[in-house]
């Protein structure tokens, strides 16, 4: 049925992939709203200036690395390299968790600097934006967990269906990665 459905699909893209893209567009608007609010509010003055703790640079490196590992996992999956597929998937999962942990450390560092949640909107924004991003990463970690059980419980079989599902996870993961890079660049340009 899938093949037949494909034949008359008006666009080549798989419906679920398109669904994901539209959802990503929606998430982008949400973060777009936050960062615009940040700019507008900053322009109004009464704005506490501080430097972002370095730990956020480390977390950025970690999430970038996780994009690389998931890419390798996916190509391993497609090329039949089962070892690479499984190993890199675990690595991605662990890096994802480490990222969230580092974000938490980052918030602690901010807090001890005096840039607390409520002291000024300039710091409140950082917590809210990075916190919401972390929530989206956690969603991705949930998807990775499903992918991991597929990898370890099911016998290795790169069917079209499994490839499509994995592809969705990979896409979303790259998205939260790029989103964080955008946010990081944004924060650095602003402070």
């Amino acid at each position: 049925m899938a093949a037949l459905r494909q034949e008359y699909n008006q666009s080549k893209i798989h419906p679920q992939k398109l669904l994901l893209w539209v959802a990503i567009g929606s998430i982008i608007m949400m973060f777009g709203a936050f960062t615009s609010a940040y700019v507008v509010r900053r322009a109004a003055g009464n704005w506490l200036e501080f430097k972002l703790p370095d730990i956020f640079m480390v977390s950025t490196a970690v999430i970038l690395a996780s994009s690389l590992t998931i890419h390798l996992a996916f190509s391993g999956f497609k090329k039949g390299k089962e070892q690479q597929y499984k190993g890199m998937l675990i690595a991605t999962f662990v890096l994802g968790l480490v990222f969230v942990l580092l974000q938490y450390k980052g918030w602690e560092a901010l807090n001890s600097m005096g840039a607390t949640f409520t002291v000024n909107p300039s710091s409140s924004f950082i917590y809210v934006i990075s916190g919401l991003h972390a929530a989206h990463v956690l969603g991705g970690i949930g998807a990775l967990a499903v992918a991991l059980t597929h990898a370890y419980v099911l016998p290795y079989k790169p069917t079209l269906r499994r490839k499509q599902r994995f592809d969705l996870v990979v896409h979303y993961w790259h998205f939260v990665d790029i989103l964080w890079v955008y946010l990081m660049v944004f924060f650095m340009l602003q402070s």
Binding site: N9, Q10, P15, L19, S26, M30, A33, N46, F117, S124
Partner: protein, 620 residues
């Protein structure tokens, strides 16, 4: 289901068999798996046709609640001296009865009523009730698909909407009352639980309800977009889609791009309320207490709110426009005038909707130079709007117009849209808006152009597609009385508000401005408006009775295509089952508006073009 490809009885069956596209849908027994008992068929259904009806009936429920609220506050405005003690059994302690036994509406509750009326009508009725109903019902039927791209997300969309409704409904019974700071939820009233009674638990529940509502809209929206882009049947190019599809498509895009922004705004509001941040709060004193919130900006919320809020009004009106285009063309027995222009104007309105939001904030202290930008783009919206009006009139003009309930409501829509659109042009000029902002002129504007017009679009759609939804007709006589009464009544309610508004009567005042000497002479007019509102309210009983009676006992549908329409939904069986078409999906050979072409009254979309015949939809 082997009975499918039996003898072709009609030309339609023959064409569907020969040209239709067999996706082997029925070999998989979807129907059996998902529709095995009452619960899975009618309640937790994933079938788009059922979900559409669920949205419609839930919407009708909310429309009743919301309209009843407006009657209560209209009584207060029209008859401020009257005794309201008789409402005590329903409103309880919100009617304060003095020693003399005279009942008065609690002013706090007046604000709750106005707020809930706005929230319910804008979001629950005219967004979910309208888009939810017709997007679900029509998308798969008109583009030739078995169901939505993700039936599960679709069902979830309804259930999130349902939950949002439950939360809002419960908030009506809080001892401190539901939220009372206006449907726009501006801070500081919305940000400080101690600001008013309704700002406490009522506001918290309002936020939860809105968050659930946004989730519902997003789930629905991504699904509508994906389905329209991905699951059209063979031959259904974008430029052959019936106009409701275009309208719903752009509506869904607006929703998916603007609701997340509202979510952001409301999230920050939540932090201000419960975590002590100051995104929107600044140097504020409540009840003599100086709060330690500094550095926030209430205007920031207005930007975030109206970035959704303005597209939201088009989310409401675009589906109605699409429905009306279809209904008017079918019942005029003429092609829609200027199909291409209709599509481009929908796209233009969709685009402009994102760059005019600050016209709601001319008086909020926005830099006047920046206002100029918004004035210009706001006025430009009048161009695509006028194009559409021109085309509707061009469609009806010189036609053999069939006066049905559906087509009458279509015409009523056009009338309302013209009347309300014109006042929009007044308000779009920031210089004029300085005088008119927050007066009854604005109330008149948006009720006519959005409230009444969208309702008319919805009624047109319900009367037109009722036979498809329930395999029975609604009663036409009742429908026509319903139309004429509502048309006259709605103008009687909202037309006078232009005058009171121009005189300066402010909106959202408990006494309707009566405490100002300057406005005292509007007493009679206010009374007239209230009487008209009560009349229109009770007139809707005709619709409610007609609707529910006809579901069970209306005249039975005996033909597939009662209106002689071209689009694909009328090729499904009288009672379409799961998967919509019992056999092949029809393929599309032409656009949807070949009425009166080459001497034929109508030529459905599945009929192949004749030799040398030119498809009018594809001329791009």
């Amino acid at each position: 289901m082997a009975h499918v490809n039996t003898v072709a009885e009609t030309l339609e069956d023959k064409l569907t068999q020969e040209l239709g596209y067999n996706d082997h849908f029925h070999e998989h027994h979807h129907g059996d798996k998902f529709q095995s008992n009452f619960l899975t068929t009618y309640i937790f259904s994933t079938d788009h046709k059922i979900i559409g009806r669920q949205f419609l009936i839930t919407g009708i429920f909310w429309a009743f609640i919301g309209a009843a609220m407006s009657i209560v506050f209209r009584l207060q405005l029209g008859f401020p001296e009257a005794d309201m003690a008789w409402l005590r059994p329903i409103l309880g302690k919100w009617i304060m009865v003095n020693e003399a036994g005279i009942g008065k509406l609690d002013p706090e509750f007046y604000y709750s009523l106005v707020t809930m009326h706005g929230t319910i009508l804008v979001f629950f009725v005219l967004t979910a009730g309208l888009s939810g109903t017709f997007a679900n019902l029509l998308i798969p039927l008109q583009i030739g698909a078995r169901d939505m791209a993700s039936p599960l997300l679709n069902a979830l969309s309804y259930w999130f909407f349902f939950l949002a409704g439950v939360v809002l409904f419960i908030s009506l019974f809080l001892s401190t009352g539901p939220f009372s700071g206006g449907w726009t939820a501006y801070p500081p009233l919305s940000a400080l639980p101690q600001a008013s009674d309704g700002s406490g638990a009522g506001m918290t529940m309002w936020i939860v309800a809105m968050a659930l509502f946004v989730v519902s809209s997003l789930l629905g929206g991504v699904n509508y977009i994906t389905t329209i882009l991905n699951l059209r049947t063979k031959g259904m190019s974008l430029w052959r889609m019936p106009l409701p599809m275009w309208a719903i498509f752009v509506t869904a895009i607006l929703g998916v791009l603007s609701f997340p922004v509202l979510l952001s705004g409301v999230l920050l509001l939540m932090f201000d309320r419960s975590m002590g941040t100051s995104f929107y709060l600044s140097e504020i004193v409540v009840g003599g207490e100086i709060l330690d919130r500094i550095g926030g900006s209430p205007i920031l919320f207005q930007h975030l709110f109206w970035f959704l809020g303005h597209p939201e009004v088009y989310i409401i009106i675009l589906p109605a426009m699409g429905i009306v285009s279809e209904v008017l063309s079918v019942h005029s027995r003429k092609p829609i005038f200027g199909y291409t222009a209709m599509v481009y104007s929908i796209l233009a309105i969709g685009f402009l909707a994102f760059i005019v939001w600050a016209h709601h904030m001319f008086m909020a202290g926005v830099n006047p130079f920046i206002s100029n930008f918004f004035v210009i783009f706001t006025l430009i919206i009048a161009v695509p709007s006028a194009v559409k009006v021109f085309n509707w009139i061009g469609t009806i003009y010189g036609s053999n117009f069939r006066f049905t309930s559906a087509s009458l409501f279509g015409v009523g829509f056009v009338s309302m849209f013209i009347s309300g659109g014109l006042t929009g042009i007044f308000l779009g000029n920031s210089a004029i808006d300085i005088a008119l902002h927050d007066t009854y002129f604005v109330v008149a504007h948006f009720h006519i152009v959005m409230g009444v017009a969208a309702f008319f679009g919805m009624f047109a759609g319900v009367y037109h597609w009722f036979p498809k939804m329930f395999s029975r007709y609604m009663n036409e006589t009742l429908g026509k009385i319903h139309f004429w009464g509502t048309l006259v009544g709605a103008y009687a309610i909202f037309w006078p508000m232009h005058y009171t508004g121009m005189a300066g009567v402010p909106r959202r005042y408990y006494d309707g401005g009566a405490s100002f000497d300057a406005f005292r002479h509007f007493e009679d007019l206010n009374r007239f408006i209230t009487v008209a509102a009560i009349f229109v309210f009770f007139l809707q009983a005709l619709f409610i009775v007609n609707f529910f009676y006809s579901i069970f006992s209306g005249k039975k549908l005996t033909v597939k295509n009662p209106w002689g329409a071209n689009s694909l939904e009328w090729t499904t069986p009288i009672k379409p089952g799961h998967g919509n078409w019992p056999g092949n999906i029809p393929t599309v050979q032409r656009w949807a508006y070949d009425y009166g072409k080459g001497g034929e009254e109508f030529i459905p979309q599945y009929v192949p073009l004749k030799e040398g015949e030119h498809d009018l939809g594809e001329g791009h």
